[in-house]
C-alpha cells in the first residue's frame, strides 16, 4: 500500500497536527513514513504545504512527485486549489469550506467552491461548524482528518489510538472529544 497525501492550508492553521496524527497512526501500523513540512517565513499567514508519505515499502523521496498524490487534504478552500498538479487521476480532494480571509483580494467564496466542484472526486466539509457543535472548535482539523480517513490506507482504529497517544497527557476528556470529532468527520465523508 501507499498513501501520498498533500496537506495544505494557511500558516498558523495547524496542518502539522493532522500530519502528526497520520504519522503516529502509520507508526502504530509499522509503516514507513516521510513527511516534509514548511517552517519559517510562510508560517506568518502565508500558504503552507506538507508532503505526507506512508507506505509498507521503503520510501525514496521526501517530496511527492507531481501527478502522484492520492489525496489532498486542505483546511482552507482556496488553498485546496493550489496544488492540483500533484493529484493523480483518481485522487481525492477533501477540503474545509470555511475560508481564511487574510488577503484583500480573496475571491468570491461561491466561485471558489464551484471551482472545487469541478474536481471529479471531492468532498467539501464544514469542519468548523461540526467542531463547534461538538463544543470543541479546536478539533476542526481532526474533523478534517476524519473526513480524509476513508481514503488513507491505514485502519481507522489506528487513528483513534494515535489520538489517545497524542492527547493522552491532556486527559480523558480531550481524548474523547477528538475521537468524536474524528468519527463525525468520517461519517460525513462516508455518507457522501
Amino acid at each position: 500500500m501507499k498513501s501520498d497525501i498533500i496537506l495544505s492550508g494557511v500558516g498558523g492553521q495547524g496542518i502539522l497536527s493532522i500530519a502528526a496524527t497520520i504519522g503516529t497512526a502509520a507508526l502504530i501500523g509499522n509503516l514507513h513514513i516521510k513527511q516534509s513540512e514548511v517552517h519559517g517565513m510562510s508560517q506568518r499567514g502565508g500558504n503552507v504545504i506538507s508532503h505526507m508519505r506512508v507506505s509498507d515499502k521503503e520510501i525514496a523521496s521526501d517530496l511527492i512527485p507531481k501527478g502522484q498524490a492520492n489525496l489532498i487534504v486542505s483546511v482552507e478552500p482556496m488553498e485546496a486549489l493550489r496544488y492540483l498538479s500533484f493529484m493523480e487521476k483518481d485522487a481525492w480532494l477533501i477540503t474545509n469550506s470555511k475560508p481564511f480571509m487574510n488577503i484583500p483580494d480573496y475571491p468570491d467564496i461561491q466561485d471558489v467552491l464551484s471551482e472545487i466542484k469541478k474536481i471529479k472526486n471531492h468532498i467539501i466539509i464544514d469542519a468548523d461548524t461540526i467542531a463547534k457543535k461538538l463544543k470543541s472548535i479546536r478539533s476542526s482539523n481532526i474533523v478534517m482528518l476524519g473526513a480524509a480517513s476513508p481514503y488513507i490506507d491505514i485502519p481507522f482504529e489506528n487513528f483513534k489510538e494515535a489520538l489517545r497517544q497524542i492527547f493522552g497527557r491532556k486527559g480523558e476528556e480531550v481524548v474523547n472529544k477528538n475521537i468524536i470529532a474524528l468519527e463525525k468527520g468520517r461519517e460525513f465523508a462516508l455518507k457522501k
Partner: protein
Amino acid sequence: MEKLLLLGDEAIAQAAIDGGLSGIYAYPGTPSTEITEYIQRSKLAKTLEIHSQWSANEKTAMESALGMSYAGKRAMVAMKHVGLNVAADAFINSAITGVNGGLIIVVADDPSMHSSQNEQDSRFFGDFAMIPIYEPANQQEAYDMVYNGFELSEKYQIPILLRITTRLAHSRASVELKTIKKQNENSLPSDIKQFILLPAIARNSYKKLLAKQDSFETESTSSKYNEYIEGKDKSKGIIAAGITFNYLNENYKETKVPYPVLKIGQYPLSVLLIKRIYDECEEIIVLEDGYPFIEQKLKSLLGDKKIKGRLDGTLPRDGELDPNNVATALGLEAKIEDIVPEILRDRPPALCSGCGHTDVFNALNEVMSDYGRGRVFSDIGCYTLAALPPLNSINSCVDMGASITMAKGATDAGLRPAIAFIGDSTFTHSGMTGLLDCVIEKTPITIIISDNSTTGMTGGQDSHAFNRLIDICKGLGVEDKHIRIFNPLRKNHKQAIEIIREEIQYKGVSVIIPQRECIRTLERRIKLKKRKTAK
C-alpha cells in the same frame, strides 16, 4: 535500539547528544533553528549539562565552539547558510588551527529560497576551507554522520562541515538511535601553540592542512556514504549528491536504476570514484541541490565533453531539484505544468494582526510622506514584510545589520533624512557595531529599533537585547535625550509621529525604541502560565 520519528534537524541534534557533545552554539535561522531548540528541550541534554544557549550571532557561536574544542570537548555549531558568511572569518581560520575536541559545523542551505535572501551553496565554503564535508541523503545518514563525525574530526584534528538543505532539515522520517558515548574530559591541545595564527606559526599550520588533503580524499574514497552502484546500461552514468539520490530512486520505484550510479555523501570528491563512472559511461548526469559544485569540478578535472547538469540546461540552473525535474532530466517524463485555476490568489506571508511593528510603520509612513520615497533602510526580521502592500514602508533588506550601516552610507552621500529600521535581535546580532560608527562620526541619522523582546521571524527565541537595549545604546555613546521610547499601540499613534518627526530634525544620532512584546510569544507565555496554574 530505539527508533524515533525525527526531522532531519532533530536527528542531527539527537546524534550530537548521543555522540558525546558538550556544547552547541548557534544563532537561529531557518532551516537550522530546530537543531538547537531540540537540544534546549532535551531532558537528557540537561542532565548531561550540554551547553545550548543561543549566541549573539554566528561568528560568536563559531568561536565559542572552537574554544570548547580547544579545551578538549566535542562541540557543534549550527546556522543557516547566510550565517556562514557572518562566521566565515572564524570558520576559514578554524581549518588552519585545526581542532582538539571534535568539531562539527552544521550549515543548512535553502535552495529555492523558502525563507532566505539567497540560495548560496555551503559546499563552496567547505571546499574553500579545505575541510571534509558530509552531505546526508536522509535523516538516518544525518544521524550517523554526526554520531561518527566527531571521531573523524578528532582523528585529523580538523573541523567537519555537515551540509544539509531545507528538505532534509524539515522532513521527518524514522531514525534508529545508537548508544550514548561519554563526553570528553578537558584537555589542552598537545601542541600548545596550535591555536596561535601568527604568520610564522600559521605558515606551518597551513602546510599541515595541505598535507592532510590526500587523506581526506582517501577517506572519501572508502566512505560508506559514497557508494558506486553498478548498472548495465552505460549510455548514462548518474552522480547523485545528498537527497537528490532519493529523487533518482523515486523515479525507478518498481525497478532498479538501469545506469551506473555514484551516490555522493562525503567530500572532497574522490577522483578515483568519479573517474571510474566517467570512463565507464557515455555521458554523465550530475544531480545536486544548490549550485553546480560537482559539475564544475568534474569539468575542470575531466573536461566537459559529456557532462550534463545545471550548467548545460539539462536541469534548471536555480531552485531546488525534485522528483519531477530529475525525471525530465533522465528523459523519463515531459515537464509537468502547474495547474493554476484562474481564481487562485497569492497568499504572501504578512505581519500578524495586532503586531507592534505595524503600528510603528503606520506612524513612520505618515511622517515619511513629507519627504518622499526611498529613504527607509531596513533589515531582516518579521518587519521585512513591511516591504509588501499594504504597508510598503521599507526600501532595503540585504543582510543582518545592514540597515544602520546602509542608512549611514546614504546619509554620507547626502540622502537626508535616511532612516534605519531594525529589530532588537538583529541589533545585537550585528547592528551595534554600525551604531558605533554613527556615534563616532555624529552621523545625522534616525535609527528605529523595533523592540518586541524576541527573535520573532524564526519562531520567538530569546533575544540578547532583552532588558539591555537602552543601556547598550547609551554605552555606545548615544545621547540620553535622543534615545526615545514609546509603546506602539494605536492609541499612541500621535505620540509616535511626534517622536519620529522630532528626531529626524536632530542632526546627530537618534535611536527610537518602540517597545511592545510580540503577540505570538505573549500568547505562548499566557498559555504556559495557564497550564502551570492548572497543575
